[in-house]
């Protein structure tokens, strides 16, 4: 049920996306990532209105990693940073990273061509996996619009998702 693609520019680098609901051990999962037991990005589903946005952010994070232009320490945290409109790393983590009290999580796993790492992560999660397209059911549109500072003028011309995809893609050229 996870969604897996190879990177647009680097075919030997994979991007895996997965969505879980009713997760009971979020705190332990976050600890695992923080202690480095496994590497992954754990996103807050309410901040994501379309999986494609995460894909653009992950695509960019891998690219920045490969070209040695990362802002954060590793490629998985770079996904979080790429997704966020601000240049403040702590702020990005707080807004887009999953919290201890959340019970759903959107997982991004990079560089897992054979799927072994995903298997390991799955064994750690106590929750129910659902299709990533269902992420739109979790979204908090008002909050998303507020954080990305999306105006009504923009949403009139294209979908909210497209506005955010453009924001994520052009982050380095925009001054916030």
């Amino acid at each position: 049920m996870d969604f897996k693609v190879t990177h647009h520019l680097y075919p030997n680098f994979s991007i895996t996306l997965a969505l879980y609901k009713d997760v009971t051990n979020m705190e332990a999962l976050r600890q695992c990532v923080m202690k480095g037991e496994f590497e992954a990005t754990l996103l807050k589903p309410s901040m994501i209105c379309d999986p494609f946005i995460v894909l653009t952010a992950a695509n960019r994070a891998v690219y920045l990693d490969k070209t040695n232009k990362m802002t954060t320490k590793n490629v998985h945290s770079e996904v979080l940073y790429c997704l966020s409109p601000t240049k403040n790393i702590t702020d990005s983590f707080r807004k887009f990273g999953v919290g201890d009290k959340d019970n759903s999580v959107f997982i991004v796993l990079l560089n897992d061509l054979d799927g072994a790492k995903m298997e390991f992560i799955k064994s750690k999660i106590e929750g129910c996996q659902i299709s990533i397209d269902e992420v739109s059911n979790f979204k908090d549109e008002t909050q998303v619009k507020k954080i990305y500072k999306v105006t009504d003028l923009e949403v009139n011309t294209c979908s909210l998702s497209d506005v955010i995809v453009s924001r994520v893609a052009s982050k380095e050229f925009l001054t916030v």
């Binding site: 969604f3 693609v5 647009h8 520019l9 209105c49 379309d50 999986p51 494609f52 894909l55 653009t56 695509n59 960019r60 690219y63 070209t67 397209d133 992420v135 739109s136 105006t151 003028l153 923009e154 009139n156 011309t157 294209c158 979908s159 909210l160 998702s161 497209d162 506005v163 995809v165 453009s166 924001r167 893609a169 052009s170 380095e172 050229f173 925009l174």
Partner: protein, 233 residues
Amino acid sequence: MAAPMDVSGENVRKFIKQGAEAKVYAENFYGRPCISKERFSKGYRHPTLDKSLTLQRLKAEIRAMSKCRNLGIPVPTLYFVDTSTSTFYMEEIVNSQTVRDYIVSIQTSDPDGAMQKLSPLAEKIGKILSKMHCGKVIHGDLTTSNMLLRGDPSDLDIVLIDFGLSFSEGLAEDKGVDLYVFERALLSTHPNTEELFKVVIEAYKKENVKESADAISKLDEVRMRGRKRTMVG
């Protein structure tokens, strides 16, 4: 709202066009049809200068596009920017035709009623240009080929493309030149469109009476002397 992501299609780059500064390809970006524009390096320029110019222009193009989006002017969605190869990837506007093709087809099918049929389109163009200029964006290459009509042409869903020559400027002079470039492009590609351009200008004025007056008077001035400013005295 989430578009299904079909990623089964292999990514094949298909060359579309080459201009003076960039090559344009069609490809697939994680299941979405996409256009990539690569600014290639120029061998005759000093490498350092070449790098900085290419990056500057890439930045300007991306900024102009996002500025237009902020102003509520439809432009392609940006997917990815690769500064190392000066390439950016954007949404392909599927199911669309250029305003140029549309005007030509109307003019050939109905030469007498063309003016009447095209008036709403001209009005919409004027409105969009006015909005863009109010937001201090100068497109720099306004032609009927750089405007796309998405879906049914009667919906007048115009998408502006190719911000390769654009810059951010609020001066009436630049707005006047921008309008002049569009006038020349319109009149030279489509015969008998003088009246149509008048409709564009009327709508341009109407959209923002206060700010458009200066630009229009500059347009008259530019018409007398041409696009380039005379540097005498």
